[in-house]
Protein backbone atom coordinates (compact mmCIF):
# COMPACT_ATOMS: atom_id res chain seq x y z
CA UNK A 1 0.00 0.00 0.00
CA UNK A 2 1.63 3.22 -1.08
CA UNK A 3 1.55 6.50 0.79
CA UNK A 4 -0.87 8.05 -1.70
CA UNK A 5 -3.24 5.10 -1.41
CA UNK A 6 -3.24 5.41 2.39
CA UNK A 7 -4.02 9.12 2.09
CA UNK A 8 -6.90 8.46 -0.30
CA UNK A 9 -8.45 5.72 1.82
CA UNK A 10 -8.20 7.84 4.96
CA UNK A 11 -9.73 10.79 3.13
CA UNK A 12 -12.64 8.63 1.92
CA UNK A 13 -13.33 7.41 5.46
CA UNK A 14 -13.33 10.95 6.89
CA UNK A 15 -15.57 12.22 4.06
CA UNK A 16 -18.12 9.50 4.79
CA UNK A 17 -17.97 10.09 8.54
CA UNK A 18 -18.67 13.80 8.06
CA UNK A 19 -21.44 13.02 5.55
CA UNK A 20 -23.04 10.71 8.12
CA UNK A 21 -22.79 13.44 10.73
CA UNK A 22 -24.59 16.02 8.58
CA UNK A 23 -27.50 13.58 8.30
CA UNK A 24 -27.52 12.36 11.90
CA UNK A 25 -26.78 15.61 13.79
CA UNK A 26 -29.50 16.79 16.15
CA UNK A 27 -29.17 20.56 15.72
CA UNK A 28 -29.41 22.35 12.39
CA UNK A 29 -26.37 24.50 13.08
CA UNK A 30 -24.22 21.47 13.88
CA UNK A 31 -25.38 19.82 10.65
CA UNK A 32 -24.51 22.90 8.60
CA UNK A 33 -21.02 23.09 10.14
CA UNK A 34 -20.66 19.44 9.19
CA UNK A 35 -21.74 20.22 5.63
CA UNK A 36 -19.18 23.01 5.26
CA UNK A 37 -16.47 20.64 6.49
CA UNK A 38 -17.75 18.07 4.01
CA UNK A 39 -17.43 20.59 1.17
CA UNK A 40 -13.86 21.32 2.17
CA UNK A 41 -12.95 17.64 2.25
CA UNK A 42 -14.61 17.15 -1.15
CA UNK A 43 -12.29 19.82 -2.52
CA UNK A 44 -9.39 17.58 -1.51
CA UNK A 45 -11.11 14.55 -3.05
CA UNK A 46 -11.41 16.40 -6.38
CA UNK A 47 -7.72 17.26 -6.15
CA UNK A 48 -6.93 13.59 -5.65
CA UNK A 49 -9.08 12.79 -8.71
CA UNK A 50 -6.91 15.25 -10.65
CA UNK A 51 -9.90 17.45 -11.40
CA UNK A 52 -8.42 20.75 -10.23
CA UNK A 53 -11.06 22.84 -12.03
CA UNK A 54 -13.80 21.00 -10.17
CA UNK A 55 -11.85 21.34 -6.91
CA UNK A 56 -11.80 25.12 -7.39
CA UNK A 57 -15.55 25.16 -8.07
CA UNK A 58 -16.25 22.98 -5.06
CA UNK A 59 -14.06 25.18 -2.83
CA UNK A 60 -15.86 28.30 -4.02
CA UNK A 61 -19.48 27.20 -4.37
CA UNK A 62 -19.85 23.87 -2.62
CA UNK A 63 -18.27 24.88 0.65
CA UNK A 64 -18.17 28.68 0.73
CA UNK A 65 -21.40 29.97 -0.78
CA UNK A 66 -23.67 27.00 0.05
CA UNK A 67 -22.40 27.12 3.63
CA UNK A 68 -23.19 30.82 3.91
CA UNK A 69 -26.62 30.26 2.35
CA UNK A 70 -27.56 27.45 4.74
CA UNK A 71 -26.22 29.10 7.86
CA UNK A 72 -28.05 32.31 7.05
CA UNK A 73 -31.28 30.34 6.63
CA UNK A 74 -30.66 28.36 9.83
CA UNK A 75 -30.14 31.58 11.79
CA UNK A 76 -33.39 33.10 10.53
CA UNK A 77 -35.34 29.89 11.14
CA UNK A 78 -34.03 29.39 14.65
CA UNK A 79 -37.30 30.50 16.25
CA UNK A 80 -39.12 27.74 14.38
CA UNK A 81 -36.85 25.03 15.69
CA UNK A 82 -38.23 25.29 19.21
CA UNK A 83 -41.07 22.96 18.27
CA UNK A 84 -39.45 19.88 16.80
CA UNK A 85 -41.44 17.93 14.27
CA UNK A 86 -41.71 14.20 14.69
CA UNK A 87 -39.85 12.21 12.10
CA UNK A 88 -41.05 8.85 10.82
CA UNK A 89 -41.24 5.91 13.22
CA UNK A 90 -38.63 3.21 13.73
CA UNK A 91 -40.09 0.68 11.30
CA UNK A 92 -40.43 3.23 8.54
CA UNK A 93 -36.90 4.47 9.20
CA UNK A 94 -35.60 0.94 8.88
CA UNK A 95 -37.40 0.48 5.59
CA UNK A 96 -36.00 3.76 4.27
CA UNK A 97 -32.53 2.71 5.42
CA UNK A 98 -32.84 -0.56 3.51
CA UNK A 99 -34.02 1.30 0.41
CA UNK A 100 -31.13 3.81 0.62
CA UNK A 101 -28.61 1.06 1.22
CA UNK A 102 -29.93 -0.84 -1.80
CA UNK A 103 -29.50 2.22 -4.01
CA UNK A 104 -25.98 2.76 -2.63
CA UNK A 105 -25.00 -0.86 -3.20
CA UNK A 106 -26.39 -0.82 -6.74
CA UNK A 107 -24.34 2.30 -7.48
CA UNK A 108 -21.26 0.72 -5.90
CA UNK A 109 -21.67 -2.33 -8.14
CA UNK A 110 -22.02 -0.05 -11.13
CA UNK A 111 -18.78 1.72 -10.13
CA UNK A 112 -16.98 -1.62 -9.79
CA UNK A 113 -18.29 -2.82 -13.17
CA UNK A 114 -17.29 0.27 -15.17
CA UNK A 115 -15.89 -0.84 -18.54
CA UNK A 116 -12.18 -1.40 -18.45
CA UNK A 117 -10.60 0.46 -21.21
CA UNK A 118 -12.71 3.42 -20.05
CA UNK A 119 -14.39 5.37 -22.85
CA UNK A 120 -12.89 8.84 -23.01
CA UNK A 121 -13.17 12.03 -24.99
CA UNK A 122 -9.82 13.33 -23.75
CA UNK A 123 -7.97 12.61 -27.04
CA UNK A 124 -10.70 14.41 -28.99
CA UNK A 125 -10.46 17.37 -26.62
CA UNK A 126 -6.69 17.41 -27.03
CA UNK A 127 -6.88 17.25 -30.84
CA UNK A 128 -9.28 20.15 -31.12
CA UNK A 129 -7.60 22.34 -28.51
CA UNK A 130 -5.79 24.29 -31.22
CA UNK A 131 -9.13 25.52 -32.58
CA UNK A 132 -9.66 27.83 -29.60
CA UNK A 133 -6.11 28.71 -28.64
CA UNK A 134 -6.82 27.95 -24.97
CA UNK A 135 -4.66 25.59 -22.95
CA UNK A 136 -7.19 24.47 -20.34
CA UNK A 137 -9.20 21.52 -21.69
CA UNK A 138 -12.06 22.03 -19.22
CA UNK A 139 -12.50 25.67 -20.27
CA UNK A 140 -12.47 24.46 -23.87
CA UNK A 141 -15.27 22.02 -23.17
CA UNK A 142 -17.29 24.56 -21.19
CA UNK A 143 -17.03 27.44 -23.58
CA UNK A 144 -16.55 25.84 -26.99
CA UNK A 145 -17.27 22.11 -27.33
CA UNK A 146 -20.31 22.10 -25.06
CA UNK A 147 -21.08 25.82 -25.18
CA UNK A 148 -24.82 25.20 -25.32
CA UNK A 149 -24.77 23.60 -21.85
CA UNK A 150 -22.95 26.56 -20.41
CA UNK A 151 -25.26 29.07 -22.07
CA UNK A 152 -28.35 27.29 -20.78
CA UNK A 153 -26.83 27.00 -17.35
CA UNK A 154 -26.51 30.80 -17.27
CA UNK A 155 -30.20 30.91 -18.10
CA UNK A 156 -30.90 28.55 -15.19
CA UNK A 157 -29.06 30.94 -12.88
CA UNK A 158 -31.15 33.85 -14.16
CA UNK A 159 -34.37 31.83 -13.75
CA UNK A 160 -33.45 30.88 -10.19
CA UNK A 161 -33.00 34.58 -9.41
CA UNK A 162 -36.36 35.39 -11.00
CA UNK A 163 -37.87 32.63 -8.85
CA UNK A 164 -36.31 34.07 -5.67
CA UNK A 165 -37.41 37.60 -6.49
CA UNK A 166 -40.94 36.52 -7.29
CA UNK A 167 -41.33 35.49 -3.64
CA UNK A 168 -41.36 39.14 -2.62
CA UNK A 169 -44.66 40.49 -1.26
CA UNK A 170 -46.25 43.02 -3.64
CA UNK A 171 -45.70 45.95 -1.28
CA UNK A 172 -41.93 45.69 -1.38
CA UNK A 173 -41.50 44.76 -5.04
CA UNK A 174 -38.57 46.62 -6.52
CA UNK A 175 -37.10 47.25 -3.08
CA UNK A 176 -33.97 46.17 -1.28
CA UNK A 177 -33.22 42.43 -0.96
CA UNK A 178 -32.89 40.80 2.45
CA UNK A 179 -32.46 42.35 5.86
CA UNK A 180 -30.10 45.29 6.30
CA UNK A 181 -26.99 44.21 8.17
CA UNK A 182 -25.37 46.44 10.72
CA UNK A 183 -22.09 46.21 12.54
CA UNK A 184 -19.86 48.50 14.55
CA UNK A 185 -18.23 50.70 11.86
CA UNK A 186 -14.96 50.67 13.83
CA UNK A 187 -15.26 47.02 14.79
CA UNK A 188 -13.16 44.12 13.63
CA UNK A 189 -15.74 42.93 11.10
CA UNK A 190 -15.89 46.30 9.34
CA UNK A 191 -12.10 46.38 9.28
CA UNK A 192 -11.98 42.91 7.79
CA UNK A 193 -14.61 43.78 5.18
CA UNK A 194 -12.52 46.76 4.10
CA UNK A 195 -9.25 44.85 3.92
CA UNK A 196 -10.26 41.55 2.31
CA UNK A 197 -12.30 42.56 -0.77
CA UNK A 198 -9.44 44.37 -2.59
CA UNK A 199 -7.31 41.24 -2.20
CA UNK A 200 -10.25 39.02 -3.12
CA UNK A 201 -10.99 41.00 -6.28
CA UNK A 202 -7.38 40.61 -7.40
CA UNK A 203 -7.51 36.87 -6.75
CA UNK A 204 -10.91 36.55 -8.47
CA UNK A 205 -9.68 38.27 -11.62
CA UNK A 206 -6.48 36.25 -11.51
CA UNK A 207 -8.48 33.00 -11.38
CA UNK A 208 -10.63 34.17 -14.29
CA UNK A 209 -7.51 35.05 -16.27
CA UNK A 210 -5.66 31.86 -15.37
CA UNK A 211 -8.70 29.88 -16.55
CA UNK A 212 -7.63 30.23 -20.18
CA UNK A 213 -4.60 27.98 -19.77
CA UNK A 214 -4.69 26.62 -16.22
CA UNK A 215 -7.45 25.53 -13.86
CA UNK A 216 -9.81 28.41 -13.20
CA UNK A 217 -12.37 30.35 -15.17
CA UNK A 218 -15.54 32.41 -15.08
CA UNK A 219 -17.49 30.41 -12.47
CA UNK A 220 -14.71 30.25 -9.95
CA UNK A 221 -13.60 33.86 -10.41
CA UNK A 222 -17.21 35.09 -10.36
CA UNK A 223 -17.94 33.17 -7.16
CA UNK A 224 -15.00 34.78 -5.39
CA UNK A 225 -16.16 38.23 -6.51
CA UNK A 226 -19.69 37.43 -5.28
CA UNK A 227 -18.33 36.34 -1.89
CA UNK A 228 -16.41 39.60 -1.53
CA UNK A 229 -19.52 41.62 -2.38
CA UNK A 230 -21.54 39.68 0.17
CA UNK A 231 -18.87 40.22 2.81
CA UNK A 232 -19.12 43.99 2.36
CA UNK A 233 -22.91 43.73 2.62
CA UNK A 234 -22.75 41.51 5.71
CA UNK A 235 -20.48 43.98 7.46
CA UNK A 236 -23.07 46.67 6.78
CA UNK A 237 -20.65 48.82 4.79
CA UNK A 238 -23.06 48.93 1.87
CA UNK A 239 -26.63 47.90 1.20
CA UNK A 240 -27.76 45.51 -1.49
CA UNK A 241 -29.01 47.46 -4.52
CA UNK A 242 -32.80 47.62 -5.04
CA UNK A 243 -33.81 44.96 -7.54
CA UNK A 244 -35.51 47.49 -9.82
CA UNK A 245 -32.27 49.32 -10.69
CA UNK A 246 -31.68 49.34 -14.42
CA UNK A 247 -27.88 48.95 -14.22
CA UNK A 248 -28.34 45.90 -12.03
CA UNK A 249 -30.68 44.27 -14.52
CA UNK A 250 -28.14 45.01 -17.27
CA UNK A 251 -25.31 43.35 -15.34
CA UNK A 252 -27.54 40.35 -14.69
CA UNK A 253 -28.07 39.66 -18.38
CA UNK A 254 -24.87 40.91 -19.99
CA UNK A 255 -23.20 37.48 -19.81
CA UNK A 256 -25.88 35.42 -21.57
CA UNK A 257 -26.56 38.25 -24.03
CA UNK A 258 -22.92 38.51 -25.11
CA UNK A 259 -22.82 34.72 -25.33
CA UNK A 260 -25.97 34.65 -27.48
CA UNK A 261 -24.78 37.48 -29.75
CA UNK A 262 -21.48 35.71 -30.35
CA UNK A 263 -23.35 32.45 -30.87
CA UNK A 264 -25.68 33.97 -33.43
CA UNK A 265 -22.69 35.65 -35.04
CA UNK A 266 -21.27 32.15 -35.44
CA UNK A 267 -24.32 31.33 -37.54
CA UNK A 268 -23.45 34.28 -39.75
CA UNK A 269 -19.65 34.13 -39.95
CA UNK A 270 -18.80 30.62 -38.84
CA UNK A 271 -20.37 27.27 -39.52
CA UNK A 272 -23.11 26.98 -36.95
CA UNK A 273 -24.78 28.45 -33.89
CA UNK A 274 -22.12 28.98 -31.22
CA UNK A 275 -19.29 28.18 -33.65
CA UNK A 276 -16.46 30.67 -33.26
CA UNK A 277 -14.74 31.99 -36.39
CA UNK A 278 -11.33 30.33 -36.11
CA UNK A 279 -9.29 33.50 -36.48
CA UNK A 280 -10.97 35.32 -33.59
CA UNK A 281 -11.80 32.40 -31.31
CA UNK A 282 -9.61 33.38 -28.37
CA UNK A 283 -10.54 37.09 -28.07
CA UNK A 284 -14.23 36.20 -28.47
CA UNK A 285 -14.03 33.55 -25.77
CA UNK A 286 -12.25 35.91 -23.40
CA UNK A 287 -14.93 38.56 -24.00
CA UNK A 288 -17.67 36.03 -23.19
CA UNK A 289 -15.82 34.86 -20.08
CA UNK A 290 -15.38 38.41 -18.83
CA UNK A 291 -19.04 39.31 -19.34
CA UNK A 292 -20.12 36.02 -17.74
CA UNK A 293 -17.94 36.61 -14.70
CA UNK A 294 -19.74 39.90 -14.04
CA UNK A 295 -23.14 38.26 -14.46
CA UNK A 296 -22.23 35.25 -12.32
CA UNK A 297 -20.88 37.43 -9.52
CA UNK A 298 -24.01 39.61 -9.49
CA UNK A 299 -26.43 36.68 -9.77
CA UNK A 300 -24.82 34.56 -7.06
CA UNK A 301 -24.59 37.56 -4.74
CA UNK A 302 -28.27 38.41 -5.21
CA UNK A 303 -29.35 34.75 -4.89
CA UNK A 304 -27.80 34.78 -1.42
CA UNK A 305 -29.19 38.19 -0.55
CA UNK A 306 -32.71 36.82 -1.05
CA UNK A 307 -35.99 38.34 -2.25
CA UNK A 308 -36.76 42.05 -1.74
CA UNK A 309 -37.90 42.71 1.83
CA UNK A 310 -37.69 46.47 2.26
CA UNK A 311 -39.52 49.19 0.34
CA UNK A 312 -37.79 51.52 -1.99
CA UNK A 313 -37.75 54.75 0.00
Amino acid sequence: MTMAMALDSGLAVVVLAVAGWTIAARGTFAAVVGFVSYGLLLTLVWVRLEAVDVALTEAAIGSGLTGALLIGAAARLRAGEASPVEGPGVVLRLEIAVLSATVAVALAIAVLLLPDPAPTLAPAAAENATATGLGNPVTNVLIAFRAMDTLLEKVVLALALVGVWSLAPDRVWGGYPGPRHRSDPHGVLAFFARLLPPLGIVVGIYILWAGADHPGGAFQGGTILAAMWLLVMMAGLTDAPPVSRRWLRLVLIVGPVVFLVVGLGGLWLGDAFLAYPAAHAKPLILTIEFAMTLTIAATLGLLLAGPPERKLS
Partner: protein, 95 residues
Protein backbone atom coordinates in the same frame (compact mmCIF):
# COMPACT_ATOMS: atom_id res chain seq x y z
CA UNK B 1 20.39 18.43 0.05
CA UNK B 2 20.43 21.35 2.51
CA UNK B 3 17.19 22.47 0.92
CA UNK B 4 15.59 19.08 1.55
CA UNK B 5 16.66 19.04 5.20
CA UNK B 6 15.28 22.55 5.66
CA UNK B 7 11.95 21.52 4.13
CA UNK B 8 11.72 18.37 6.24
CA UNK B 9 12.48 20.20 9.49
CA UNK B 10 10.09 23.09 8.82
CA UNK B 11 7.22 20.96 7.50
CA UNK B 12 7.55 18.49 10.38
CA UNK B 13 7.53 21.38 12.87
CA UNK B 14 4.39 22.73 11.18
CA UNK B 15 2.72 19.32 11.40
CA UNK B 16 3.60 19.26 15.11
CA UNK B 17 1.66 22.48 15.65
CA UNK B 18 -1.38 20.98 13.94
CA UNK B 19 -1.09 18.08 16.36
CA UNK B 20 -0.84 20.52 19.27
CA UNK B 21 -3.82 22.50 17.98
CA UNK B 22 -5.97 19.38 17.77
CA UNK B 23 -4.95 18.14 21.20
CA UNK B 24 -5.77 21.56 22.63
CA UNK B 25 -9.09 21.71 20.83
CA UNK B 26 -10.06 18.34 22.23
CA UNK B 27 -8.56 18.47 25.71
CA UNK B 28 -8.75 22.07 26.94
CA UNK B 29 -11.56 22.71 29.40
CA UNK B 30 -13.42 25.73 28.02
CA UNK B 31 -14.13 27.61 24.81
CA UNK B 32 -11.63 30.42 25.22
CA UNK B 33 -8.65 28.19 26.03
CA UNK B 34 -9.57 26.01 23.05
CA UNK B 35 -9.54 29.14 20.91
CA UNK B 36 -6.03 29.80 22.19
CA UNK B 37 -4.91 26.35 21.04
CA UNK B 38 -6.55 26.77 17.66
CA UNK B 39 -4.81 30.05 16.85
CA UNK B 40 -1.42 28.45 17.41
CA UNK B 41 -2.16 25.81 14.81
CA UNK B 42 -3.44 28.42 12.38
CA UNK B 43 -0.50 30.71 12.85
CA UNK B 44 2.55 28.57 13.31
CA UNK B 45 1.39 25.29 11.75
CA UNK B 46 0.55 26.78 8.38
CA UNK B 47 3.34 29.38 8.68
CA UNK B 48 6.04 26.73 9.12
CA UNK B 49 4.61 24.59 6.30
CA UNK B 50 4.68 27.61 3.98
CA UNK B 51 8.22 28.44 5.08
CA UNK B 52 9.34 24.89 4.43
CA UNK B 53 7.84 24.83 0.95
CA UNK B 54 9.02 28.31 0.01
CA UNK B 55 12.34 27.12 -1.42
CA UNK B 56 10.67 24.45 -3.55
CA UNK B 57 8.45 26.64 -5.74
CA UNK B 58 9.48 27.96 -9.11
CA UNK B 59 9.76 31.69 -9.57
CA UNK B 60 8.78 34.69 -7.49
CA UNK B 61 5.06 34.41 -8.41
CA UNK B 62 4.81 30.96 -6.83
CA UNK B 63 6.50 32.20 -3.65
CA UNK B 64 4.25 35.26 -3.59
CA UNK B 65 1.16 33.06 -3.81
CA UNK B 66 2.34 30.86 -0.95
CA UNK B 67 2.94 33.87 1.27
CA UNK B 68 -0.41 35.34 0.19
CA UNK B 69 -2.20 32.16 1.27
CA UNK B 70 -0.56 32.38 4.68
CA UNK B 71 -1.38 36.09 5.07
CA UNK B 72 -5.01 35.53 4.08
CA UNK B 73 -5.38 32.74 6.62
CA UNK B 74 -3.77 34.99 9.25
CA UNK B 75 -6.14 37.82 8.49
CA UNK B 76 -9.20 35.58 8.51
CA UNK B 77 -8.00 33.70 11.58
CA UNK B 78 -7.43 36.88 13.58
CA UNK B 79 -10.83 38.30 12.63
CA UNK B 80 -12.81 35.12 13.11
CA UNK B 81 -11.11 34.31 16.44
CA UNK B 82 -12.08 37.72 17.77
CA UNK B 83 -15.66 37.32 16.55
CA UNK B 84 -15.89 33.79 17.99
CA UNK B 85 -14.48 34.98 21.31
CA UNK B 86 -17.09 37.76 21.40
CA UNK B 87 -19.86 35.28 20.66
CA UNK B 88 -18.54 32.88 23.32
CA UNK B 89 -18.41 35.64 25.94
CA UNK B 90 -21.98 36.63 25.30
CA UNK B 91 -22.81 33.05 26.20
CA UNK B 92 -24.26 31.64 23.03
CA UNK B 93 -26.58 28.72 23.66
CA UNK B 94 -25.43 25.44 22.25
CA UNK B 95 -26.98 24.62 18.92
Amino acid sequence: MVRDVFTIVMVAAGAFFFLAGTVGLLRFPDTLTRLHALTKADNLGLGLVVLGLLLRVQGPLGALKLVAVWLLVQLAGATVSQLIAGAARRGEPSA
